[in-house]
């Protein structure tokens, strides 16, 4: 029984490791500046995780194989209550490894979250609702028109509550897909109309909750042109799984071209761009 258990544990361990290293299923290709550092930290962590997992399972299997009771009479286990030296040793080593990982695991976070978007960032206001994304662009004047909940009227297509009396809003556009420039810091100002949502593009390696009652500013820099799927990553109701949109990472000229356009033309151009860029291939 001990031998069978050991073998089964080892087979499970082997299959699990193979599943991870097979390469068949892994993170999608990264498209942001911070992604390589994040992926590197993940690799270091998963190696530690994998080694610990494997070592523990091999150890467990070895124990149950070697120390199974073979029925020889008079045989007793080794009488020991433990070893203080070992306790100190493995506690210190484990603490060192875990806390080192923990400290290392803060650097990408700190680079993204502890300071505001750098000057010259491209800002977009993101307003989430059940079950659609709304992206509010500031237009050529780089000023967002004033918004207020009392102006929101979904049936009149004023999803973000633009105040029509505010002149700086005259050149603003609101669409359901996101277009950002490549190789330039992007600042997202995240808001929600109703419940908590979460902005997520897997290739970006970036997530943030959109909390009603708060405006949360985050920033990142995308460095690969293309069209990427955008998903909601915080349960927001029955159509949470369908709250889908796209993020377009565009060359600077196309962003400039978009910026000058009034609402209808902006939307039409977005449709055109969405058709122009394909999704990445997944094997």
């Amino acid at each position: 029984m001990g031998r069978v258990l050991a073998v089964i544990i080892w087979i499970i361990t082997l299959l699990s490791v193979l599943l991870f290293v097979s390469g068949k299923w892994w993170f999608p290709t990264p498209i942001s500046e911070h992604a390589p550092a994040l992926d590197r930290q993940f690799m270091i962590t998963i190696v530690v995780v994998g080694l610990s997992f494997t070592a523990a399972q091999i150890g467990l299997g070895w124990m149950v194989w070697k120390y199974r009771d073979t029925g020889k009479s008079g045989d007793r286990a080794i009488y020991t209550h433990g070893s203080n030296r070992l306790e100190v040793l493995w506690t210190v080593i484990t603490a060192f490894v875990f806390i080192a990982l923990g400290v290392m695991g803060q650097s990408v976070w700190a680079s993204l979250r502890l300071h505001d978007a750098p000057p010259g960032s491209y800002s977009v206001e993101v307003v989430a609702q059940q079950f659609q994304w709304n992206f509010h662009y500031a237009g050529k004047d780089n000023k967002f028109g004033r918004t207020d909940p009392k102006f929101i009227d979904d049936s009149a297509l004023n999803f973000v509550g633009l105040d029509s009396s505010d002149p700086s809003g005259a050149d603003d556009a609101v669409t359901t897909a996101l277009a950002i420039p490549v190789n330039r810091p992007v600042e997202l100002r995240l808001r929600s109309k109703d419940v908590i949502h979460n902005f997520w593009v897997p290739q970006l390696r970036f997530k943030q909750d959109l909390v009603p009652g708060m405006e949360i500013k985050v920033h990142f820099t995308a460095n690969k042109i293309g069209k990427y799927e955008l998903a909601c990553a915080e349960l927001c109701g029955q159509l949470h799984f369908k709250m889908k949109s796209y993020m377009l990472v565009l060359p600077e000229e196309e962003i400039q071209a978009l910026q000058g356009l009034p609402q209808e033309q902006f939307q039409a151009k977005m449709v055109e761009l969405l058709a122009k860029y394909p999704l990445p291939t997944y094997q």
């Binding site: 089964i8 499970i12 991870f20 299923w25 993170f27 962590t45 530690v48 995780v49 610990s52 150890g59 467990l60 124990m63 149950v64 120390y67 009771d69 045989d75 007793r76 080794i78 009488y79 209550h81 433990g82 070893s83 070992l86 506690t91 484990t94 603490a95 875990f98 806390i99 923990g102 695991g105 803060q106 976070w109 993204l112 059940q130 909940p149 009392k150 979904d154 109703d194 419940v195 908590i196 979460n198 997520w200 897997p202 943030q208 909750d209 009603p212 009652g213 708060m214 799927e229 998903a231 915080e234 349960l235 927001c236 109701g237 029955q238 159509l239 949470h240 799984f241 369908k242 997944y282």
Partner: protein, 628 residues
Amino acid sequence: MSVEHHEGVHRHPAPTGFIRKYIFSVDHKVIGIQYILLALAAVAVGMVMSLLMRLNLSWPGTSWPILETLFPTGAPGGVMNPEFYLSLVTMHGTIMVFFVLTTAPQGGFGNYFLPIQIGAEDMAFPVLNMMSFWVTLLGFIVILLAIFVEGNQSLGQLFAGLGPSFAGGSGTVGPIGGWTGYAPLSALGKIAGPGQGAGMNLWVISIAIFCVGSLLGALNFITTLLNMRTKGMSLMRMPLTCWAWFTTAVLALLSFPVLLGGGILLLLDRIAGTSFFIPSGLYVSGLLSGSNPNFPLHTGGSPILWQHLFWFFGHPEVYIAILPGMGATSHILATFARKPVFGYRAMVFAIFAIGLLGFFVWGHHMFISGMSPYSAIAFSVLTLSIGVPSAVKTFNWLGTLWGSRIRFTTAMLFALGFVSLFVAGGITGLILGQSSLDLAMHDTYIVTAHFHLVMGVASIFGMFAALYFWFPKMFGRFMNEGLGKIHFWLTFVGVYTIFVPMHIMGIVGMPRRYASFGEYEFLKTLHPLVLLVSVAAIITISAQLIFYFNVFWSIFKGKKASDNPWEATTLEWTTATPPPHDNFAGVLPTVYHGPYEFAVPGAPRDFVMQTDIDTEVPSGNGHNGHKH
């Protein structure tokens, strides 16, 4: 082997009559069994729900005739709609976490065996103990009501007149919000969508009731352990199960009140128009806050406040779910390895460390919630450090096995399985605890894989081990070992097959709580894994039928057991099988040794019971009550 004894005090005579003996009993043993039966019922409901979830994810759009009969609104034509699926997610989580993982390990086995293992005739407050069970059962009934209030049209309309949040009948099997019930979705009422009406009210009420039951139990455990240990049973001679139950009770005592507070605030937001969690300026389903009787005015609340209150409870809760299993594993490993627990003192410190640190890491559920990024850093580093005592425990389990003589009973297999699964599940905490990595991993299936492996599998294995181990003492008969071994193998291989692929799904990016994965291109490659998981789930869930049969058949027809069939050392094995009403037939035991004196050199047998006055155990080598 003679046993010195001293007089106990008869606090109450044994009850007569069926009702006082088996229904409204104050006997901790009966109450323990009642909790275990409750958990067995709850886990069956939870498993059926997870089965339905897997069917929907793997074969979407399929018509399941039974659903059409039972839930015509939620599954029209037998095809689950998304709100039906999400209500399954919510109820599965709620029922499993509360009514399975927080009942059987502590209220079930803890209630039965803590008093006996410390040499007491009962808990400190037997009547309170009885009340804690019945209050918990009431909570279970209320959560089941949520199924009917949402699933049935006429029942759902019963309360609709009371207010906008009271309408039910949305066709789901309960509220939608996940077991975490984040505000404001959970606070807004019917206007926020199906499953946000009466079912959600019942959910909050059920949890509030459960909090009360849990607190009553925790009070009892702590007082009993502090006050009622028998002569010679010093703290460092207690079995590790007692340490685990004690720490779990302290965690429950200090965390459940916070959930209760949060739940009251949520209920007030829903039915009394307050704005603890609902901010200003909301526009929901085409209505502006305050513009319509269906959507009264709310201003200034903080959704993140709910998360803080919930997770301040929620994180200790997961340690409440796992600590008793750790205690049972240590206990059972030592017994069937015929060897003392390696590093008993370190094990006690590790239990304390896990319990204490467990209160300081709740923010790791909230890294990207919008809370301060500086606090995220603090929570992250603390979270990684909580892995240290858990690792220490794993090393000590392996140390216990080293140099041992292992007897592979079913209980031992499950205890070994616990070690394997706890490592598998716990180790991914290293990934999820890092704030940077959480940017990619939050709300994906890697989170689901992690917590299922630790809570939904390791913890359950702890319970299985405990039941196979203590069954002979509780019922005087063994569970069938052959069936037990089949149960073990199917379940062990099954749960690995279910949950290891989920890590990969999370890495690719599969989000949690999605009713369907068909909308996104990047998820399409995962379909073979989704199928594999579901097939494994179907087999594993079916295998549990063997377990249920074994339990109930063995109570009546199992092989008869003696007082100490496993040749174990702790106090429960010194008394009759099953124990008499006052546990020790009026004569409380005296303890001379530590709890795990196996393989003592020179002793006549390979184990020395705690009450054995005749056998010497080498001092300086163990924990015989010395203060070092």
